[in-house]
């Protein structure tokens, strides 16, 4: 197990190096060079020259790359051209919001998706099975931004059950030691703040969780359909064991491997790409900030965020690989 973790962490090095080369080359390849990209097309030649000297764009490419790399290694991802704050700080203040949103979306996806898929498989061909297919299809096919707008319109604007935007009521006075707003409320004992932050997560959480929910439900259904007909399940029934044990130890646990793979891939996507949902709900996570960076040609933010998202994605998938071993002893030895 330890060997696997070390191996995978070592593999991250070439991966991130390759990515840094790509990101570096991308900004250099912009029309007019990075200075023009920063200043806009009507920049004076003097201003361009000043920026070039300031950022070292006039030096040979390989020298620039190694400088870029050494800054990265020191945790210096550059400064946002829009806010003037370091990219790393911008990332760290917003990432907790995205994590909170992802967790809520996952709870919805797993909490509903796995039981739904299980019941659909156990009662294959029933009304419930067929309706779960329809629900899954809708979940996968409806665009996220559309679903987000509908949810916002119906439940926030018309019914007024949930707030429509933001992470917390702007009039609320709350302290934020960790930037995880729900956690902050619980830590500081500001229960109303925690509750308010949680309520703000519901609609974006549903919007974001729908696609993973549909996928998890389909994967679970497929896996359970197969496992419930496995020989060892019949043998377990022949042993006369209790049905709770049959469901838990024999059917569900054996079905979870493919489902776990799916969840891992989805977590990566959620953490990196809640751009649409965050934008619709004006939720200040990394997704909405990245979208703004794109509109404002804020290249240091784009570069830095892409790199950090890649690290998060790789770590989440490492976590999934490690958890395979917890479920399936055969993989422990191979790992």
């Amino acid at each position: 197990m330890l060997r696997l973790i070390v191996q995978r962490l070592l593999l991250l090095i070439p991966l991130l190096l390759g990515l840094s080369v790509l990101l570096f080359a991308w900004v250099r390849a912009l029309p007019g060079g990075p200075a023009t990209a920063l200043l806009g097309e009507r920049a004076t030649p003097e201003a361009v020259a000043r920026i070039n000297t300031l950022y070292g764009f006039d030096q040979p490419v390989h020298v620039q790359y190694f400088k870029y790399l050494s800054r990265l290694l020191q945790g210096d991802f550059g400064v946002s051209t829009r806010t003037g704050r370091p990219v790393l700080d911008e990332f760290l203040t917003r990432f907790p919001a995205t994590i909170e949103l992802t967790v809520v979306a996952l709870i919805i996806a797993i909490g509903i998706g796995i039981p739904l898929g299980y019941v659909a498989a156990r009662r294959a061909g029933s009304f419930l099975d067929h309706s779960s297919v329809v629900v899954s299809l809708i979940g996968v096919t409806v665009p996220v931004f559309f679903l987000a707008f509908i949810l916002k319109y119906v439940f926030a604007v018309e019914l007024g059950w949930f707030p429509s935007t933001g992470r917390q009521d702007p009039t609320m006075i709350a302290t934020h030691p960790t930037n995880f707003y729900v956690l902050d409320g619980l830590l500081t004992g500001e229960w109303d703040a925690a509750w308010d932050a949680l309520v703000h997560l519901i609609l974006p959480g549903i919007a974001l969780g729908t696609i993973p929910l549909a996928i998890v439900a389909r994967m679970t259904r497929a896996a359970v359909s197969e496992v419930q007909n496995a020989d060892y399940v019949r043998t377990a029934r022949a042993k006369g064991i209790k049905s709770a044990r049959l469901r838990g130890d024999h059917i569900v646990r054996n079905s979870m491997l493919p489902v776990l793979t799916t969840i891992g891939l989805q977590v990566g996507l959620l953490l990196s790409g809640a751009v649409l949902t965050e934008t619709v709900f004006a939720f200040s996570g990394i997704g909405s900030f990245l979208a703004e960076a794109v509109f404002n040609a804020d290249y240091p933010v784009m570069q830095g965020f892409v790199l950090m998202i890649a690290i998060v994605y790789a770590l989440v998938n490492l976590l999934v690989d490690v958890s395979y071993g917890l479920i399936d002893p055969r993989l422990r030895r191979q790992q």
Partner: protein, 588 residues
């Protein structure tokens, strides 16, 4: 109770003494009465078992014999209440003691399973939950059936594993199924089936997935234990020899009906029903005759050399050497197994160790051995899928795997494989036509019309109808699928066909048909066969020469008659002795 028709009670009086034909009624553990089982299908209900009657008494072993699809497993599963969800008891009764298992609540049935009723399933590879420790899988039955508390269960589990002859049971209980060999798994499954000390044990082909020598040990253990415990056993098998050897009563099923039953020896020595007679004739473990057609083909000069000097290297002079198609010279194959930990070293494993032999053109050479003996690796090297570590293989004078790319492609055409499992070796999405046509396309054989003509010719050779060419593998029986696999192998007119356990997955009757087909094709097309098998009975039916392999080495080589009639090594003798029912004298 006594007035109910009881087939075994009608058996003639010359039944063996151990079959208590006139035992009192209270000795009856299971009485199946006019039982019919239906499966709901899209085309309406399908009857899998029709009007079955049988009785199992205390301490008795009753074997149900039949081919796959005969309804024998369905009958057994109906007894255990484990029919697939679309199956149900349509008519009749399953009396177990004084309860009708066909008509009791699911709850009561669940209570009986694991206590009064036990199961030893067929395939040890798929019947253990891969993610739970062996001990845990036996513990849970003991705990849920209230036989032991959570705390005492493990001690009992270790006792049970010890009882079925698993060495070092306490440590083994903490291991996972993938750390067990097939034989060990089957022992664990027997321990599991007997853990509740059931009155009736259903043993569904308990050893058909194992090597013969392992099979014997496990069956001995099983019959020893059930005798000691007085357990009644319902043994499901397709192997007549095994049934004859292990059962008191033999019940023969065919197409869902019981066509014959009675004391084992009586059924086997004077079979009444046509199907039983056919089964007897086809059973390779009983009939020692070689397929006549093999002798009739026009290659006797090659064979005579081999047959005249049994047990010796018959092919020695220059004239005979010209007829050698494949020559294997001192071939070894070493695999490197990577170490498990960070620092542990990798180990070498010698799968094939200095093997030499020739395959004369137009003959059949069989390689026998248990799993792990290196026979499949040898076949793969001859197919040029694996490269030998040392030694050489020549085919028709040329070195295998040495030529240019073009020659290697040509080699692939001249040597074709037929694999064991016709279920997994055919692409389920390819129609039969496409499966047979594929090698023709791959080797640029003619145009579409020429290929079609060739496929139809091949289908005719292997006795497949034109209509079947449009079907998909899932719509074919095992025997039909193997015919497709053979047609595919023959598509490019190969000279050598390597059959790796090509008939092992088939029922005896179908197996005999396929062997007939192969022998006929050999005569017609002058084919040379290399037959890889663990089944010595098959060897006797088809092969001219036989090589016995053990742990990568050839321990014995000779003509089939020589090896079978006077085996030179203990290992070969053990293999021969392990064939079920070989000692039975039969009226054929």
């Amino acid at each position: 109770m006594t007035d109910i028709a009881d087939n075994t009670a009608d058996a003639p009086v010359d039944a063996p003494a151990d079959a208590p034909v006139d035992a009192p009624a209270e000795d009856v553990v299971l009485r199946v009465e006019n039982l019919s089982v239906d499966f709901r299908t899209e085309g309406g209900p399908a009857r899998a078992v029709a009007n079955a009657n049988l009785t199992v008494r205390r301490g008795q072993t009753v074997a149900i014999v039949g081919e796959s699809g005969s309804g024998k497993t369905t009958l057994a599963m109906a007894v255990l209440g484990l029919l697939a969800s679309n199956g149900s008891v349509a008519e009749g009764h399953i009396w177990f003691k004084d309860e009708d298992l066909g008509h009791i609540s699911a709850q009561r049935m669940a209570q009986l399973r694991g206590t009064e009723l036990g199961l030893v399933p067929q395939d040890p590879m798929t019947n253990l939950n891969p993610i739970l420790r062996i001990g845990q899988q036996i513990d849970e039955g003991l705990i849920d059936n209230g036989l032991r508390t959570r705390r005492d269960a493990r001690a009992r589990t270790v006792e049970l594993l010890d009882e079925v002859g698993l060495p070092d049971a306490a440590r083994r209980a903490g291991q996972y199924p993938h750390e067990f060999s097939g034989g060990m798994r089957q022992r664990a499954l027997i321990a599991m089936g007997l853990s509740g000390r059931p009155a009736l044990l259903v043993a569904d082909e308990p050893t058909s997935a194992l090597d013969v020598t392992v099979q014997r040990g496990i069956l001995d253990q099983l019959s020893g234990l059930t005798e000691e415990l007085g357990t009644a056993v319902l043994l499901i098998t397709h192997d007549l020899g095994l049934a004859a050897e292990r059962a008191d009563i033999v019940v023969v099923m065919y197409h869902g009906e019981i066509v014959e039953q009675g004391p084992a020896r009586q059924v086997l020595t004077s079979p009444q029903h046509d199907y039983t007679k056919r089964l007897m004739a086809a059973a390779p473990s009983l009939a020692s005759r070689r397929i006549e057609i093999a002798r009739e083909r026009g290659l006797e000069d090659v064979l005579d050399d081999a047959l005249l000097a049994p047990g010796e290297e018959a092919v020695a002079d220059g004239a005979a050497e010209a007829d050698v198609l494949v020559s294997v010279k001192d071939v070894s194959k070493v695999f490197t197994i990577r170490g498990g930990g960070l620092l542990s070293r990798s180990k070498d494993f010698t799968a094939v160790d200095g093997v030499s032999f020739d395959i004369p053109r137009g003959s059949t050479v069989a390689v026998v051995g248990e799993s792990g003996s290196g026979k499949s690796t040898l076949a793969r090297m001859i197919l040029d899928i694996e490269k030998p570590t040392t030694g050489s293989i020549t085919f028709d004078g040329g070195l295998v795997g040495a030529g240019k790319h073009k020659e290697q492609i040509a080699y692939r055409r001249r040597v074709q494989p037929v694999f064991q499992d016709p279920y997994s070796s055919l692409d389920p999405l390819y129609s039969v036509f496409r499966a047979i046509e594929e090698p023709l396309r791959a080797h640029d054989y003619g145009d579409a019309a020429a290929r079609r003509a060739r496929v139809e010719e091949l289908a005719e050779q292997v006795a497949l109808s034109k209509g079947q060419l449009r079907r998909f593998p899932s719509e074919l029986s095992g025997g039909q699928r193997q015919r497709v696999a053979i047609a595919r192998a023959l598509a490019l007119s190969p000279e050598l066909v390597v059959c790796d356990e090509a008939v092992s997955a088939l029922d005896v009757v179908v197996q005999a048909q396929i062997l007939q087909l192969l022998a006929g094709l050999q005569e017609e097309l002058g084919l040379t066969y290399l037959f890889i098998t663990h089944d010595l009975a098959v060897v006797r039916q088809i092969a001219d020469r036989v090589l016995v392999m053990q742990q990568g080495r050839v321990v014995e080589e000779g003509t089939v008659d020589a090896v079978f009639d006077s085996p030179a090594t203990d290992y070969t003798r053990a293999l021969l002795d392990a064939i079920p029912g070989k000692d039975l004298e039969l009226a054929l």
